[in-house]
């Protein structure tokens, strides 16, 4: 457990120290370019194909026809961490899984973001019990987390909501271009 904690501290320090510099690189000195870059980043998040438990099925469902994640540029699930900039931790992280998860996070190139999906990833969820000996109580103890999506498991819409929140964090606006022009009125899609 000590080793895992040291590794987590290392990842945290690294991301805090260099986050601003690494996220935009030299482009940070040009505000307009930076803004354009950020809108581009927000509109083409590439998640990692990484399912841990129940929530992974809802993550898959979010990528399928009904709730199409591709509408937000986040459909390109990459099997390799080195091609991704979004890690969706969808499920329970166990003690055995923790080093692998942190390695995956480290393998991702900057800029990178993390969504903790589901109660298990947020706090251990239903497995945060007295005699817990194997479940990590919250993935934010291991890696920095940007957006939390609670639920057990959250509906796919909640994951989309999380991605919209993440876009808000990256680009400063809830609906960066081109989705900004969306109407406010919400239509209800009936089930036959």
């Amino acid at each position: 457990m000590k080793e895992i904690e040291r590794y987590a501290q290392f990842l945290k320090d690294e991301s805090e120290a260099d986050s601003t510099e690494l996220q935009g690189g030299a482009m940070n000195s040009f505000p307009l370019t930076e803004q354009v870059l950020k809108v581009c980043q927000a509109n083409s998040l590439w998640p990692l194909t990484f399912g841990l438990a129940c929530c992974a099925i809802e993550m898959m469902a979010a990528g399928m026809a009904r709730i199409d994640m591709a509408r937000y540029g986040a459909e390109v699930f990459r099997p390799s961490a080195r091609q991704c900039d979004l890690l969706i931790v969808s499920g329970t992280v166990t003690k055995k899984m923790a080093p692998a998860l942190m390695t995956l996070y480290e393998q991702m190139p900057y800029p990178k973001w993390v969504i903790a999906m589901g109660n298990c990833a947020i706090s251990g969820g239903p497995f945060k019990v007295e005699d817990n000996y194997n479940v990590i109580e919250g993935v934010d103890r291991l890696i920095p987390v940007d957006v939390y999506v609670p639920g057990c498991p959250p509906r796919p819409e909640a994951l989309i909501e999380g991605i919209l929140k993440l876009q808000e964090k990256i680009a400063g606006k809830r609906h960066p271009w081109p989705q900004r022009k969306m109407k406010d009125a919400v239509k209800v899609h009936p089930i036959p």
Binding site: A65, R66, I67, D68, R71, A116, N119, I122, S123, G124, G125, P126, K128, V129, G138, D140, D146, V147, Y148, V149, P150, G151, C152, P154, R155, E157, A158, I160, E161, G162, L164, K165, K169, M182, K183, V186, K187, V188, H189, P190, I191
Partner: protein, 146 residues
Amino acid sequence: MSGYFSELITGSKSLLVGLGVTFKALISPVVTVQYPREKIDVTSAVRGHIDLVKDEATGTHRCMVCLSCMKVCPCQCITVQGEKREGVKGKVLTLFALDFTKCSLCGLCVESCKPKAIDFSNEYELAGFTRDEFVFDLLKRVKERA
């Protein structure tokens, strides 16, 4: 050699049949829901986090601090506190906190509640920047809804 060509033909045929399925899907109605512009018509049965029910008659909650929900919860995510007050029968609710990040949405608390003071909300699309956002003070929420 003849096997090679017959395989080539059956293979091409199976591919064309498969493409036909794709073509049919192309002209069939769209199934994608344009969330968040469109929302699926989720039923009232859908389980969001629990919430205190507002009684229309009295304009307040119906909880009588029997603590049965707190005891039955397998995940220990509910904290209920009450106190005795002068002139009031039974206890008065002072705190009803829900740590939604530990909840497993099993519904045992709602079933165990005799006065039907708690029910599932329909908030199924939560997301936030910290985990503390999901520790709800349900008593405050029910008062705000008034």
